[in-house]
């Protein structure tokens, strides 16, 4: 693979430029270009040793074995709505310098406090890695001042990075979705606006008493039945609407929570989520439940409760209602479950 010496990336910098043109604002002229500007500033401000980047060698290195887990190109999939960020892109890679170090480029689109559209291009540098968490400063490419920070625990899945973004005086939960390296034509998706959830919930299980949550929870369809007035054509109307929207819209389903017994481990809560959409049925297996206050998280596994990690579920319990987001690959869907009424 040809390497771009200007930025010190393994991948050609043109990729950033091409993606940016499609993503939104013309003012974002490509992270690489800005990076070159930044590196020029840095070069003039510091005596550098890195060939091709101009950035000084960080005092702390992130070992390749640790850093490679984060290398990739990502879009902001979810972010705390208080950050006022609508979309963004993160690229993390090792430089191509004599002594490679980990560096990131961050482009963020959003609104300022007055509601004006704002574009920010930044470098995340230097990175450090300790206690299974990668942390880095977010440095403005225009002023070379620290404008934020990023904190990324070791990813549970190869498809996403979950962490926090320090940004404009606040710290916000963020999930970055991995973008295919070769896909340069797809526009950046809009970041889903979420309510703040503690990143790693304190307690294992479903609640103070797991058994209080066991049983069947019924899915509340997320929107009105589009086929409700279509009589016997209702299944067709639902299927056609789902196909034309190109999204999963479950019209029924349930979540079964139960105790999983193991020969070697103590019993722990498990779940099976079944979602029926026109023409398809999905089954998701939930394990590794954690809770803190009203929040609940679980790991989503494929095939069985011992299968590979394919996603996660983050939800909030309020009485007999559980509202949450299921993420599995490209799927990100808000779901509401309620306890069936006692008969």
């Amino acid at each position: 693979m040809r390497r771009d010496a200007r930025f010190g990336c393994k991948r050609p910098c043109a990729r950033f430029g091409r993606v940016s043109r499609r993503t939104s604002l013309a003012s974002f002229a490509g992270i690489c270009l800005a990076a070159v500007t930044t590196t020029a500033l840095v070069t003039s401000a510091h005596a550098t040793t890195g060939v091709g980047t101009g950035l000084p060698q960080p005092r702390v290195d992130v070992a390749k074995a640790d850093g490679e887990q984060f290398v990739g190109r990502y879009s902001i999939g979810e972010i705390d709505r208080r950050a006022k960020v609508t979309s963004g892109q993160l690229m993390i890679d090792y430089t191509d310098t004599e002594k490679p170090f980990l560096i990131g480029s961050l482009a963020i689109y959003g609104f300022d406090r007055d509601g004006r559209q704002q574009t920010s291009a930044a470098i995340t540098y230097p990175f450090s890695f300790a206690d299974d968490v990668l942390t880095g400063r977010v440095i403005s490419q225009g002023t070379y001042r620290q404008i934020g920070s990023i904190r990324l625990p070791v990813p549970r899945s190869t498809e996403e990075l979950s962490g926090t973004l320090g940004w404009r005086g606040g710290t916000y939960q963020v999930v970055f979705d991995r973008l295919p390296v070769s896909d340069l034509a797809t526009a950046l998706p809009q970041a889903k606006q979420i309510d703040a959830v503690p990143l790693r919930l304190k307690n294992r299980g479903l609640g103070a008493r797991d058994s209080a949550f066991y049983g069947r929870w019924e899915l509340v369809p997320s929107r009105d039945d589009v086929g409700k007035a279509s009589s016997l054509y209702a299944p067709l109307v639902r299927a056609a609407t789902a196909v034309s929207d190109d999204e999963l819209v479950p019209d029924s389903g349930h979540l079964q929570l139960f105790e999983v017994e193991s020969r070697f481990d103590p019993p722990a809560p498990g779940g099976m989520m079944t979602l029926h959409a026109p023409g398809s049925t999905r089954a998701e297996f939930l394990t590794d439940f954690r809770w803190e206050g009203p929040w609940r998280t679980a790991i989503v596994r494929g095939g069985s409760d011992g299968g590979p990690v394919v996603g996660r579920f983050t939800g909030r319990v309020s009485g007999d209602t559980l509202v949450g987001t299921l993420r599995n690959g490209d799927l990100s869907i808000e779901l509401t479950f309620t306890r069936p009424k006692q008969r």
Binding site: V226, A229, A234, V243, P278
Partner: protein, 166 residues
């Protein structure tokens, strides 16, 4: 054996005579009916027969695997359309009494509109045109065939069929 044959022959002749007489009688009585329909049905009979036709149609549609992609949607819509057309043919054979006629005809119009849009939906799906599929699905929904069925009193016809789970 010979006796049985004789009786069978007599019964056939008798049935033929009865049918002929009945036909003459019906022809005679029906001469003044200019709408081409059959005997006016009481409300209860109309509802019963319309519901029965809808039940058969819904059962037929429920047996068709629901399309999960645009590639499958065209043939799915076409099969639903075939059943919908048959339903229209069956229901339109019924003759409502005067008080039920307006609601009945509105239901038939909604059914006809829906059926026409099923064809459009099928063509759009075959062409891979998601926007046109969505538009046709919207027109089927807005035809509100279920609502007009409810107004006509056809409770089985008014129910939105559940999507069969795969």
């Amino acid at each position: 054996m010979g006796l049985t044959m004789t009786l069978k022959g007599s019964r056939s002749a008798l049935l033929a005579c009865v049918a002929l007489a009945g036909g003459v009688a019906v022809a005679g009585c029906g001469g003044g009916d200019d709408d081409g329909g059959g005997e006016e049905l009481s409300r209860a009979a109309l509802v019963r027969q319309a519901n029965a036709a809808c039940r058969r149609a819904a059962a037929g549609i429920a047996r068709i695997p629901v399309a999960a992609s645009i590639d499958e949607l065209g043939s799915y819509a076409e099969r639903v359309h075939t059943i919908g057309t048959r339903l229209y043919d069956e229901v339109s054979q019924l003759t409502p009494s005067q008080p039920d006629r307006q609601a009945f005809e509105r239901y038939l119009r909604a059914l006809s509109t829906s059926n026409a849009q099923l064809s459009a939906l099928s063509r759009a799906a075959d062409a891979g045109d998601r926007a046109a599929v969505g538009a046709a699905a919207g027109r089927v929904a807005r035809a509100e065939v279920g609502t007009y069925a409810a107004v006509a009193g056809f409770d089985v016809c008014s129910e939105a069929s559940p999507t069969p789970t795969s």
